[in-house]
C-alpha cells in the first residue's frame, strides 16, 4: 500500500477484486482514513464487499474472547488430539492454501472447498475424456458465437463488460458480429443484448434437460437427422438453426458454470458441452469456458493439485494423498462420521458458513461471521486483497493476479495463523 502516516487519503489503481472468480483487476479504490471507497469499475458485489465497514470481533474459545495466541494454542490442541480432521471452506488465497495443505499433510486431514461440489463436476470430466478450453482474453478478442449453457453469468457481474462487449478487439471483431445464445431455465438474457440492440437467442429448458439439448445439437452438427419434433420443448428447427450457426462460427465458445448446474450427475451435462466442442474442432475452432472460482476455489483446487498431485478432494489420513472426489465431500464425511474435528476457513465473506457439527470445530472466518452455534475456537481473519497482499488464480486456471493490501487490519491472515499452528504440531 502506498499510504504513509501523514497522508490520510490514498488511491490504489489496478486493484484486483477477489470477490468472484473472474478477478477484474481494473478497480480504483480510495482509502480515506481506513475507509475504502471504489472510485471506478466496481460492480455491486465489489462495492458491497470492499466498502463494508470492517466488523469488530475477537478470537474466541467457546464464545469467550481470548487473545489470538490462546486461540491458536487451543486450535493446535484440538488438532493434536484429532485423528482425522477435516479442513473445509478453504476460502483463502494461494498463500493460505499452501499452509492448509502443509497442515493437512501433517495432521492427516481431509481437504475440501465450500464450492467442492462445483469443482468436482469439472474434475470428473477432465479425468474421463478431457476438453478443449479457452481463457478470457481469447473470448474477448476472438469469440464470434458464445453459448451460455445453464448460466447467464449474473453471478459474475462484469463478465460481459470485460470479455464480450468491447470497444475494440485484436482481430477487428466487431460487437455486431458476436452472436449470443442462452440455453437453460429462465436465464436473464439482458446482459446478452448487443450494444446495437440485437437481442440474443434464448432456448428455454429445465437445467436437467440441457444435456439432452446439447446431445441433440451434437447429433445435428454431425449431419444426423432426428426423428423427433422437439427436444425439451425446443423445436428441432430451432436446434437445426443453432447447429448451422455453430458450424459456421469461426471461434465458438460454450460457457458453463458448474455451481449453477446443481443437478445429479451434472458432470455428464458438462461432458456433453466438452464433446460437442471437440467434435466441432475437427472443422472449425470451438472451446469451452467454465465460470467459477469464487471464494478462492480455483486457487484451492490448483494448489491442492500441485502440492498433492490431485485436485480436491484429498484425504491425508494414511500418510499419503488419497483422492476421492465424491467420498471426501464435507457433507459425506461429516454425515458418515469419518472425521473427528473440523477446521472451517472463509476469509472472503461470510456468505457460506461452517456447518454445525458434533465434533470439535474451529472457524477461521471474516470478522462479521455470524454462526448459529458456538465453535470451540473462532479466529477472525483478514481478507486477502483488502487487508493483506496475496495471489489468486482466475476461473480459467491459467491467469493469476497479485492482490493488494488496501487498508490496515487488526486481524491476522490465514497463512500466518496456520504457520503458527504448524510450528506447534
Amino acid at each position: 500500500m502506498a499510504k504513509t502516516s501523514n497522508i490520510s487519503s490514498v488511491i490504489n489503481k489496478d486493484v484486483a477484486c477477489p470477490f468472484c472468480g473472474i478477478l477484474c483487476d481494473d478497480l480504483v479504490i480510495q482509502n480515506q482514513d481506513e475507509t475504502l471507497k471504489i472510485l471506478e469499475n466496481g460492480c455491486p458485489k465489489a462495492v458491497a464487499s470492499f466498502e463494508a465497514k470492517q466488523a469488530v470481533s475477537s478470537p474466541k474459545i467457546k464464545g469467550k474472547d481470548v487473545p489470538l495466541s490462546d486461540a491458536i494454542a487451543a486450535m493446535s490442541d484440538i488438532l493434536k488430539k484429532s485423528h482425522n480432521p477435516l479442513f473445509s471452506g478453504l476460502g483463502t488465497d494461494v498463500g493460505g492454501m499452501r499452509q492448509v495443505m502443509h497442515l493437512a499433510d501433517k495432521t492427516g486431514a481431509i481437504v475440501d472447498h465450500m464450492h467442492g461440489n462445483a469443482l468436482i463436476r469439472n474434475s470428473l470430466v477432465l479425468q474421463d475424456l478431457g476438453w478443449i478450453t479457452t481463457t478470457m482474453t481469447e473470448i474477448r478478442n476472438r469469440a464470434d458465437l458464445i453459448i451460455f449453457a445453464g448460466t447467464d453469468a449474473r453471478n459474475y457481474p462484469r463478465f460481459f463488460e470485460r470479455t464480450i462487449w468491447n470497444k475494440q478487439s485484436m482481430f477487428k471483431l466487431k460487437n455486431e458480429q458476436r452472436q449470443i445464445v442462452y440455453i437453460g431455465d429462465q436465464l436473464d438474457s439482458k446482459a446478452g443484448i448487443n450494444p446495437n440492440g440485437k437481442r440474443p437467442t434464448s432456448l428455454n429448458c429445465k437445467t436437467e434437460q440441457i444435456g439432452e439439448v446439447i446431445s441433440g445439437l451434437h447429433a445435428l452438427v454431425t449431419g444426423a437427422t432426428l426423428d423427433v419434433k422437439e427436444i425439451a420443448g425446443i423445436k428441432i428447427k430451432t436446434l437445426q438453426a443453432l447447429a448451422e450457426q455453430m458450424k459456421a462460427a469461426k471461434y465458438g465458445v460454450i460457457v458453463w458454470s458448474p455451481a449453477e448446474l446443481d443437478i445429479p450427475h451434472a458432470e455428464l451435462t458438462i461432458q456433453n458441452f466438452c464433446e460437442i466442442v471437440k467434435y466441432l474442432t475437427r472443422f472449425t475452432r470451438f472451446a469451452g469456458f467454465s465460470l467459477g472460482g469464487n471464494d478462492g476455489a480455483t486457487s484451492a483446487n490448483s494448489v491442492c493439485a500441485w502440492q498433492s498431485g490431485y485436485p480436491l478432494r484429498v484425504n491425508f489420513n494414511k500418510g499419503y494423498p488419497d483422492y476421492d472426489a465424491q467420498r471426501y465431500s464435507t457433507h459425506n464425511v461429516l454425515k458418515n462420521k469419518e472425521v473427528d474435528s473440523l477446521v472451517w476457513i472463509s476469509s472472503f465473506s461470510s456468505n457460506v458458513n461452517s456447518p454445525r457439527a458434533s465434533i470439535p470445530t474451529i472457524v477461521l472466518g471474516t470478522p462479521d461471521t455470524k454462526l448459529n452455534f458456538k465453535p470451540d475456537v473462532f479466529i477472525p481473519v483478514s481478507t486477502p486483497g483488502v487487508d493483506h497482499s496475496g495471489q489468486l488464480i482466475r476461473a480459467d486456471s491459467v491467469v493469476s493476479l497479485p492482490l493488494k493490501k488496501l487498508r490496515q487490519s487488526p486481524y491476522a491472515n490465514v497463512s500466518s495463523i496456520l504457520k503458527q499452528v504448524i510450528e506447534r504440531m
Binding site: D14, A16, D25, D26, V94, R98, D105, K106, S123, L126, Q127, D128, L129, G130, W131, I132, T133, T134, T135, M136, T137, E138, R140, N141, R142, R162, K167, Q168, S169, M170, F171, K250, Y251, T281, R285, A287, S302, A305, W306, Q307, S308, G309, Y310, P311, F316, K318, G319, Y320, P321, Y323, S389, G390, Q391, I393, S397, V398, V399, S400, L401, P402
Partner: protein, 551 residues
C-alpha cells in the same frame, strides 16, 4: 566453517579434470581453495573411491506451470501406483509421469540434481509457474518465457517494426515474467491454430499476420543476441512429430544465419519418410548438421518405453496427436492471445515400430553428435519419459552391451531400420559430467555452477562407482546444496528451498508505454498486474532470486 571432501575422484570438465584425486574444500556455501595450514576444518568426509561431480542441471524439464498442473489433475491413475508417504522431514505426494511439486523436488535431489529449468513458461501463466517452482524444494530453478505466438510480438513483426523495438519487447518480457531465457514453440503455429490453420511449415504464412515461422525465429534469435541473454533462443521447431520433419529441422538450422540457437527435444524433429512405413531415422543427417554448425546446441528428448503424458505449449501438434491419446483423454487450451497448450497422455511401446524407432533415433543422435558440450541429456520430462529415467538413459549411453541387449528386444523392423547396433561409442563419466553439468551451466550463463573450481557454489554430488551406471546415478551417496548436506545414500536428510535464477537485460523501457495502451485496449489483465515483482517470489514464494549477468 570449512568442510573437506577428501580422497574422491573428481570429474570437473570446466577445469579439464578427468577422474583425478582431488580434495574439495567448502566454506560458507562455496567451494574454496585449500585454506591455510592452521584453518580449522569442521567436518571431513572420506570419499575414498567415490566419484565427485558438480550437482546435475536439467536444462529442459516441465516441472511447473498450468499444463503440468492439468496433467496432474487429469491423471489420478498415474498417481495411484506411485504414492509417496510423508516422513519426519518430507511432505507426502505422488505421481510417476506428473508428480506433485514437492515430490519432484525430492526426487531430483535424490538423483543428484541441484538445478532444474522449466522451458515453457507462458507469460500469461508466469505467476503460477513461479508459484509451482517455489513449491518445488531442494533444487534451484528458473524458466524460459515463451514467445512467438503472442499477438503483441506477431503484430510488431507483421507491421515491420524495427528489430530494436522487438528486442525491447523481448527484454521487457524477461523482466516482467522473471525469466532466464526465451523459448519459441512451433513459431507462430500456436497462433495459427486459433485461426484454424492445422499446420505451419517453416515458410508458410500465419494467415492473419502474414508472417512465417522463419521470420519469427530470426527475429527472436536476433533479440536474444542483442539483449545479451546467455542462453541461446530455445527452439521447439515446426512440425513436431511429423514424419519428414528432418528437412524442416535442417532448414531451421540454416535459417538463423549462424546465430546461436538451441534446438530442444530434437529427437521429435528428426524423422524421415523412408521405408515401407514412411517413417525413418533422420539422426545421421541431424547429427551431421549439429556437428558442422558450432552455433547450434541440442537436447535430445529421449523417449523411453512405458506410460507417460505429453504436455506441450504446441497446441497445434498436440491437437493433431490427440488421436493417439492413451488413455483416451486429452486437453487443448487456447491462452490469452498469448500462447496455448496441449496435454495428451501417451504410452511408448517397445513392440510398436514407430515408438521403437523413436527410441533408437534419440540414442543415435546422442551417439552421433561429437561434442558433448552441445548435446544435453533430457527426456523432455514428461514428454519422452519421466525425469526419473535419467539413470537408465545414462546407462544406455555408457554401456554398449546393455544398449544392444535392449535393442534386441524392441520391434524387429525398427531395430533393423536403425544404425544403433553399428555404433560402438560409449559415453565416459567425463562426457556425462559435461552433458549434465558443465555444458548446461555454460549454456545458461550460470558461471558459478556446473563446476567444482574455487568460487563455485557448493552444489556437489558424490557417487559410488558401480559398474551398473543406472544403479550409480540412481542413488548418489552424498548431495550437497549450497554447501549443506541434503541427501545421504539417496535419501533426503535436509530440506532446502533452492533459489530462482533470473536475468535483468537492459532495454528501452519506452516500450512499456505502448504495452500499457495495448493491455488496456485488448487484455483482461492490466499491465501492472501482468508483471511479477520480486516480492511475489521472495515473500510469497519463500525463495530467493539470483540475478544472472547478461553477456
Amino acid at each position: 566453517m570449512y568442510i573437506k571432501l577428501t580422497n574422491g575422484i573428481v570429474y570437473d570438465p570446466v577445469h579439464g579434470i578427468n577422474g583425478e584425486h582431488r580434495d574439495i574444500y567448502i566454506n560458507d556455501g562455496y567451494i574454496t581453495r585449500k585454506p591455510s595450514g592452521n584453518t580449522k576444518i569442521c567436518k571431513t568426509y572420506d570419499m575414498k573411491g567415490k566419484i565427485i561431480m558438480a550437482g546435475a542441471i536439467d536444462i529442459h524439464t516441465h516441472i511447473g506451470g498450468g499444463k503440468i498442473n492439468i496433467a496432474r489433475m487429469m491423471l489420478p491413475e498415474d498417481h495411484a501406483a506411485d504414492l509417496v508417504e510423508k516422513t519426519e522431514l518430507t511432505r507426502s505426494g505422488c505421481g510417476y509421469a506428473a508428480p506433485s511439486t514437492l515430490t519432484a523436488g525430492y526426487r531430483y535431489a535424490e538423483m543428484g540434481y541441484t538445478a532444474c529449468f522449466e522451458p515453457a513458461m507462458l507469460p500469461s501463466n508466469a505467476r503460477q509457474t513461479h508459484m509451482e517452482m517455489a513449491d518445488t524444494p531442494m533444487v534451484d530453478k528458473g524458466a524460459y518465457a515463451m514467445l512467438g505466438s503472442d499477438d503483441f510480438f506477431l503484430r510488431m513483426l507483421a507491421s515491420k517494426k524495427d528489430q530494436a523495438a522487438i528486442s525491447d519487447y523481448v527484454g521487457w518480457t524477461i523482466n516482467a515474467t522473471q525469466a532466464l531465457g526465451i523459448k519459441v514453440v512451433n513459431p507462430g503455429g500456436i497462433s495459427a491454430f486459433k485461426f484454424n490453420q492445422r499446420k505451419l511449415e517453416l515458410d508458410e504464412l500465419n494467415q492473419y499476420y502474414g508472417v512465417s515461422p522463419r521470420d519469427i525465429l530470426k527475429s527472436l534469435a536476433r533479440a536474444v543476441t542483442e539483449l545479451g541473454i546467455p542462453h541461446p533462443l530455445h527452439v521447439h521447431g515446426c512440425n513436431l512429430g511429423v514424419p519428414g520433419n528432418l528437412n524442416t529441422t535442417l532448414e531451421t538450422i540454416r535459417a538463423v544465419d549462424g546465430m546461436r540457437m538451441h534446438l530442444t527435444h530434437i529427437q521429435f524433429h528428426s524423422y524421415g519418410t523412408e521405408g515401407d512405413k514412411n517413417f525413418s531415422s533422420g539422426a545421421a543427417e541431424i547429427a551431421e548438421a549439429v556437428n558442422k554448425n558450432p552455433n547450434i546446441s541440442i537436447d535430445v528428448g529421449q523417449i523411453l518405453f512405458g506410460q507417460t503424458v505429453t504436455a506441450s505449449g504446441d497446441s497445434q501438434h498436440q491437437y493433431a496427436g490427440h488421436w493417439h491419446a492413451d488413455p483416451k483423454k486429452w486437453v487443448i487450451m487456447d491462452i490469452e492471445c498469448d500462447a496455448g497448450c496441449g496435454v495428451v497422455p501417451f504410452k511408448y511401446r517397445d513392440k510398436n515400430f514407430v515408438n521403437a524407432l523413436q527410441w533408437a533415433i534419440g540414442l543415435e543422435i546422442f551417439l552421433l553428435v561429437d561434442d558433448p558440450w552441445r548435446v544435453f541429456l533430457t527426456t523432455d520430462h514428461p514428454n519422452g519419459a519421466p525425469f526419473t529415467s535419467y539413470p537408465h538413459l545414462i546407462r544406455l549411453l555408457m554401456d554398449r552391451s546393455f544398449r544392444n541387449d535392449i535393442l534386441s528386444t524392441i520391434n524387429k523392423e525398427a531395430a533393423a531400420a536403425s544404425t544403433l547396433a553399428s555404433i560402438d561409442r560409449e559415453y565416459s563419466l567425463y562426457d556425462i559430467a559435461i552433458m549434465t553439468r558443465a555444458a548446461p551451466a555454460r549454456s545458461l550463463g550460470l558461471k558459478n555452477r556446473g563446476h567444482l573450481g574455487s568460487g563455485a557454489v557448493a552444489d556437489i554430488t558424490v557417487y559410488s562407482n558401480h559398474k551398473d551406471k543406472e544403479k550409480m546415478f540412481s542413488k548418489p551417496d552424498y548431495v550437497f546444496k549450497d554447501g549443506e548436506l541434503i541427501v545421504r545414500n539417496g535419501k533426503i536428510v535436509k530440506v532446502v528451498n533452492g533459489a530462482t535464477h533470473t536475468l535483468r537485460p537492459e532495454f528501452d523501457n519506452g516500450i512499456e508505454k505502448s504495452l500499457k495502451r495495448y493491455f488496456n485496449d485488448f487484455h483482461t489483465v492490466s499491465l501492472g498486474n501482468f508483471k511479477i515483482d520480486d516480492d511475489e517470489i521472495v515473500e510469497h514464494g519463500n525463495g530467493k532470486i539470483i540475478v544472472q549477468p547478461c553477456m
